[in-house]
């Protein structure tokens, strides 16, 4: 694979004299991951361990003095147990053109909005690739045309989003799933255009001294589905339903000395559902050079709130506590511990550990662990309460 890519790049390089100041960069990320679950599965068909691997090459080519570029980043994961988790995606296939005070992106890509760590409320452009990881931070490539205007009064992003990506869900043999099957191939849409509905979004961001400010608006197909239960001969199944929604979002960050103060708030109105407000607010405090070393020790505290009564009867209040240790060594060793407690339900809490370090220039190890607890059937994490796991990964970078 890598040799083929090298040959491809050699061919591309041979064509380069056609363009002024052209550049081609090829990178590859791949990993082998072993998950071990600490408790017996809740549902039949699930397993106690899971071996998986993925590869994500990236080919970047620029020309016209870097004012034009194309990035291609396919992704494929193989999973030993869960056929739904064995999947591929085009994370990015993007043509970028840079103008005098504007940028135009046309193609498939991933866009990140927001400032908070424990929840990503305003981040709404991409669908979550949920089979990848429980934290929902992996995203599917979204078709888009994105015009960025770079002005003295800030950056304005205008998005037209043709085409919708359906959320991925674990299959019968996977962990982190509800009791009933999800009809992943039969999603229902509010819009008669279904997955071809064209969505729009606008975002303004600006930096004013210590402040980073973002305001955003989205109008289109909700990325978060609700579910319609169907009773069939084979039993109950859940069909994802994607409504139309509008969302207004605000994200703020203020940097003062050792402190980063963060806020994200959204108002979301999904058709045929109750509209709601959600916010996450908190801080990150970093001590540089603790214990007479070069280590950085960070403390994170974030409060989460929403009054979304579509999936539960009450408001939600939760607190995230976290600590991040960066050794600042040659291997870039880092450890992050986090704990989220539901303030209205003492039985519902989640803990996680992420640790990683380089082995050499190309290899890295990583440990991830999740600990989930819930006694409340209405809690979304109730169906995954037995799915605590530790994952060891060996990552390759080229």
């Amino acid at each position: 694979m890598i040799n083929q890519l090298k040959k491809l790049s050699a061919v591309t390089l041979a064509l380069l004299p056609l363009f002024a100041a052209a550049d081609t960069q090829i990178t590859v990320k791949a990993a082998l991951e072993q998950r071990s679950f600490l408790q017996d599965p809740l549902y039949s068909g699930q397993h106690n361990s899971q071996l998986s691997a993925f590869i994500e090459p990236e080919i970047y080519h620029s020309w016209n003095d870097d004012l034009d570029s194309i990035t291609f980043k396919p992704f494929y994961r193989w999973d030993q147990r869960d056929s739904e988790r064995s999947h591929g995606d085009i994370r990015e296939l993007m043509w970028l053109h840079v103008g005098e005070d504007w940028e135009l992106r046309t193609g498939i890509g991933i866009v990140y909005w927001g400032q908070a760590e424990s929840q990503h409320l305003v981040d709404v452009i991409n669908q979550t690739d949920l089979v990848e990881a429980l934290d929902g931070e992996d995203k599917l490539g979204q078709p888009m045309v994105n015009l960025t205007l770079i002005r003295d009064w800030g950056n304005l992003d205008l998005f037209v989003l043709p085409g919708f990506r359906e959320r991925t869900f674990p299959g019968t043999e996977g962990r982190f799933r509800p009791e009933f099957d999800i009809n992943q191939d039969d999603a229902i849409y509010e819009s008669s255009a279904e997955e071809h509905h064209i969505d729009y979004a606008v975002r303004w961001t600006h930096t004013l001294d210590a402040w980073d400010i973002g305001l955003s608006y989205f109008n289109g197909t909700a990325r978060d589905p609700s579910f319609i239960a169907k009773t069939e001969d084979s039993g109950i199944s859940l069909t994802p339903y994607y409504g139309q929604m509008e969302q207004v979002g605000v994200d703020l960050l203020m940097a003062v000395d050792d402190w980063l103060y963060k806020f994200e708030g959204i108002y979301r109105d999904v058709n045929q559902q109750q509209s709601y407000f959600a916010a996450v607010a908190g801080f990150e405090y970093t001590s540089v050079g603790v214990f007479e070393t070069v280590w950085d020790l960070g403390w994170l505290l974030e409060y989460q709130y929403d009054n979304d009564h579509n999936t539960k009867p009450d408001d939600r209040n939760a607190l995230m506590l976290g600590t991040r240790l960066a050794l600042n060594d040659v291997n870039g060793t880092e450890v992050l511990l986090g704990y989220v407690q539901d303030l209205d339900d003492s039985s519902s809490h989640t803990g996680f550990i992420e640790a990683s370090s380089r082995i050499n220039d190309n290899w890295k190890w990583r440990i991830d662990a999740w600990f989930l607890a819930s006694d409340n059937m209405l809690d979304p994490s109730y169906s995954v309460r037995q799915d605590d796991y530790i994952q060891a990964s060996l990552e390759y970078y080229f």
Binding site: T27, E103, E137, A255, D258, G289, D296, N328, V330, Y397
Partner: protein, 263 residues
């Protein structure tokens, strides 16, 4: 401190009015040398370079970091800089944007390509190590006269070159140092050597500049900066390659949008 500064500027004022009646104090002489050092480096505009850092542990084992740097001179303030990392491969594409300031904390952002996320970095971070090296972020930010208060110590000959030896004390309370001793050559006002003293006042690191080259007939840049940690025995060589000035970079090339598309 502020009072002292005001006092010294009054003294400078008086001495200017009444010509060379008063002898120059060590603070005035130190400040004058710092100002001359800055004055000789004004007007370079912008630059693009490639750099390698060679990190060595106490046993001499080496690790290499590779990066590309874009810099923009900002009048009456600190420079703007965009650093794109190429090696180690797991941080390839990570980019660092900094607006350094003479008297207020620097503004810094990091772009994480895996998440497509721009993260603000707390302004105190300046004393932390840069990429696991012996250089702190503040060691690599631009030299501004207002960042320190000065004291001329003595003249000394270093490697056959006449130098002024100057003590500079950081104004910013978040600096990792209590003082620096600078050896500035008399011929061109270039730093040849710097000693950094930690918060306890002990010698922490020694930086030596070598392989100076002249650019645009005016600006001296050291191709090699060697930082030795006197307390741990670790060292880092910062080696500049292919440095080009006046490339046409402008203010608009240094913002969060350009950070996101840095490759």
């Amino acid at each position: 401190m502020k009072f002292y500064k005001q006092l010294s500027s009054i003294v400078v004022g008086i001495s200017l009015l009444s010509a060379p009646v008063f002898a120059e104090t060590v603070a005035e002489k130190g400040l004058a040398i710092a100002k001359e050092r800055k004055a000789r480096d004004l007007g370079w505009g912008d630059s693009i370079s490639q750099a390698e850092m060679i990190l060595r542990n106490a046993q001499g084992q080496e690790t290499v970091r590779k990066m590309r740097l874009k810099s923009l001179e900002v009048e009456n303030d600190g420079d703007k800089a965009l650093t794109i990392f190429d090696q180690p491969r797991d941080v390839k594409g990570t980019a660092f944007l900094s607006f350094s300031h003479a008297t207020t904390p620097d503004d810094q952002w990091m772009y994480l390509p895996a998440l497509k996320r721009v993260k603000r970095i707390a302004s105190r971070n300046k004393s932390g190590p840069f990429m696991g090296s012996e250089f702190a972020f503040e060691d690599l930010s631009s030299f501004e006269v207002e960042k320190y208060s000065y004291k001329y110590l003595r003249d000394e000959v270093v490697n056959g070159e006449d130098t002024y030896v100057i003590e500079s004390e950081p104004v910013d309370k978040y600096s990792g140092y209590t003082k620096q001793i600078n050896w500035i050559d008399k011929a061109h006002y270039r730093p040849l050597k710097v000693e950094f003293y930690d918060r306890k006042g002990s010698l922490l690191k020694t930086l030596t500049f070598s392989d100076y080259k002249l650019y645009l007939d005016k600006y001296w840049r050291a191709d090699k900066m060697s930082m030795v940690n006197n307390q741990t025995g670790k060292s880092t060589d910062f080696i500049t390659k292919e440095l080009t000035f006046k490339t046409g970079l402008r203010d608009k090339d240094f913002n969060k949008a350009t950070l996101k598309r840095a490759k």
